[in-house]
């Protein structure tokens, strides 16, 4: 990372900026040429964002979505990491539970929406549940395979020095698994952010997903629809960058960019 020249750094900024300009111009031209009355120009989207901001709904909806993701995701973290570590450690438990986990894993979290509404009604609990379901499997699977991939020499060294069980866990097993868990967290957070939008379109009446579906239903406000989409994209990007910073911690760097 250190060896970037000034030119490379300028390019890292300029190249994506150029792509953005081209896309925006193309978008604008396409709307102008087609003469669409419904699909907005980039400028109209910008105005839409401003409108949302002024009405105070933008911040409110962002907070609502982030809150749901945080709640469901933390819950999944709290359950998934210990569960994964246990299943990875105890071969018996792994063999008992893994087939079930692998069966549930490919079920799209979206498919849980009717179940969530049945169980939790139209409340915050429904999307939190959906995000929990969406994040749980990537996190559990990552922790599980992390334990199974601990290098034998590290376990043997720990046994050799005969440190206590708790120390083995805190100084060897957990740190050895951390890079893979972080990768799982990154994956899960990405999925959680995808799911919250879908969940909010159906199960609640606030949040960015609700904003999109509401803007369409209540007056074909596609400027607000696209504004909502762009904000979702930006927040998703910010979340990913946040988790990526975890990968730079000294304690886990050995597990990345090898």
């Amino acid at each position: 990372m250190g060896g970037e020249t000034l030119r490379e750094r300028v390019e890292t900024f300029l190249l994506p900026a150029a792509v953005a300009v081209v896309v925006l111009c193309g978008w604008h031209a396409a709307v102008a040429v087609s003469g669409s009355a419904i699909f907005p120009t980039p400028y109209a989207v910008l105005l839409g964002m401003y409108e949302l901001l002024m009405q105070g709904v933008l911040v409110k909806y962002i907070v609502a979505s982030l809150f749901r993701v945080a709640a469901g995701f933390l819950l999944a973290l709290l359950v998934g990491v210990p569960l994964g570590l246990l299943l990875g450690w105890f071969d018996r438990a792994f063999r008992a539970f893994n087939p079930a986990i692998q069966m549930f894993r490919p079920i799209s979290p979206i498919a849980w929406i009717p179940v969530a509404i049945l169980w939790f009604g139209v409340s915050d609990l429904a999307p939190v549940f959906l995000i929990f379901m969406a994040s749980l499997f990537p996190i559990t699977t990552a922790a599980m395979s992390a334990v199974q991939n601990i290098r034998l020499v590290h376990l043997r060294a720990a046994r050799n020095f005969r440190v206590g069980r708790l120390t083995v866990f805190s100084k060897v097993v957990f740190p050895a698994c951390l890079p893979q868990i972080i990768t799982g967290v990154r994956l899960a957070l990405g999925v959680a952010w995808l799911v919250v939008v879908a969940a909010e379109m159906i199960a609640v009446n606030s949040g960015l997903g609700y904003l999109i579906i509401d803007a369409r239903n209540a007056g074909m406000r596609y400027d607000l629809v696209v504004a909502g989409m762009i904000i979702i994209g930006l927040i998703g990007l910010a979340l990913d960058l946040l988790v990526r910073r975890l990968e730079q911690l000294e304690e886990v760097r050995w597990g990345f960019n090898r």
């Binding site: 199974q148 020499v153 590290h154 043997r156 060294a157 046994r159 050799n160 000294e250 050995w254």
Partner: protein
């Protein structure tokens, strides 16, 4: 010969065969039994530096893992100080070929790993001492990914020594290092061993290395491995690799391994330059040797003088 003649480790009738050496998680059943060791008997003296050499994959590493208590033997027993080995023990520390230091801990945290129960002050002092012993001053707070292969191996040696064991098990610890680093590490190891008075069991497939380090060299046969011979190297240290006793020991080991007359010329191992025939000695019968090894003599040979320096 050895500083002390009291038996430290007593290996009696050790035999072992494997189903599948990996943990049986991936698939429950393995191939047929593989016989790895066949009736190994061996006595290691207190304070002795013992090398175990043998062809690659002969089971010498398995033997060391059994002695260390990581693997159970199918038959036979290992006694240390008269007591049977039932598992790994902090009084006997294993140093791994693939480097067993923890990449998530700093150099000093690694070295102090075996001292977690000690008082903090005592721990700090011991760690500082062994940082100095292996010459890693200034790298205490570094993480392993910032270190070279040789430095990582030094950390592992320091981590072992800091726990104050009386036996060190070393499984080809320098195998992954470059030639010069390997020579330097051998010299350092001998110094440390002379100072710390540990019993060392050192597994290697490098005959030169064994002759340079050991009081006695245990030569293993092909799999299923047994002790083919024990060659004493009664040469004071630091050793001159060209001394006649040294050459005789090497020759003898090669002979036991089935490379008669290849001793001075070709090590029977892959990917490593053999020592060049020396000026004083006639270029030993190369053709038969090559035939025995079933590969042409290595052209790019390491200069003999390089081995001397260590």
């Amino acid at each position: 010969m050895a500083p002390n003649h009291q038996p430290k480790i007593d290996i009696r009738g050790l035999s072992t065969s494997f189903r599948d050496s990996r943990r049986s998680r991936r698939n429950g059943r393995g191939a047929d039994d593989v016989h790895v060791l066949r009736d190994v008997n061996l006595t290691v003296r207190e304070g002795e530096f013992l090398c175990i050499v043998g062809p690659s994959g002969c089971g010498k590493s398995t033997l060391l893992n059994i002695i260390a208590g990581f693997i159970k033997a199918t038959r036979g027993e290992v006694f240390i100080d008269g007591r049977p080995v039932t598992g790994p023990d902090p009084r006997r520390i294993f140093i791994f070929q693939e480097n067993g230091i923890f990449p998530w801990l700093t150099v000093e945290e690694n070295i102090g790993f075996g001292l977690l129960d000690a008082k903090p002050a005592e721990r700090r002092e011991t760690v500082a001492h062994y940082v100095r012993v292996v010459g890693l001053n200034g790298f205490e707070r570094a993480y392993p990914h910032a270190l070279s292969g040789g430095m990582k191996q030094r950390v592992e040696i320091a981590r072992a020594l800091a726990a104050n064991p009386d036996v060190l098990y070393m499984d080809e610890p320098f195998g992954a290092l470059d030639f010069l680093t390997r020579l330097r590490m051998r010299a350092e190891l001998v110094e440390i061993w002379q100072r710390e008075k540990k019993t060392v069991l050192f597994v290697t497939h490098d005959v030169d290395e064994s002759v340079q380090l050991a009081d006695r060299v245990v030569v293993m046969s092909q799999r299923p491995a047994a002790v083919a011979d024990i060659v004493g190297v009664d040469v004071p240290r630091p050793r001159d690799m060209d001394a006649p006793e040294m050459l005789r020991a090497r020759e003898r080991i090669f002979e036991v391994m089935g490379f008669a007359h290849a001793g001075a010329g070709h090590a029977p191992e892959e990917g490593r330059p053999a020592a060049a025939p020396e000026a004083g000695q006639p270029a030993v019968s190369q053709a038969p040797a090559a035939a025995a090894v079933s590969r042409p003599p290595v052209a790019a040979a390491a200069p003999r003088s390089a081995a001397k320096g260590a």
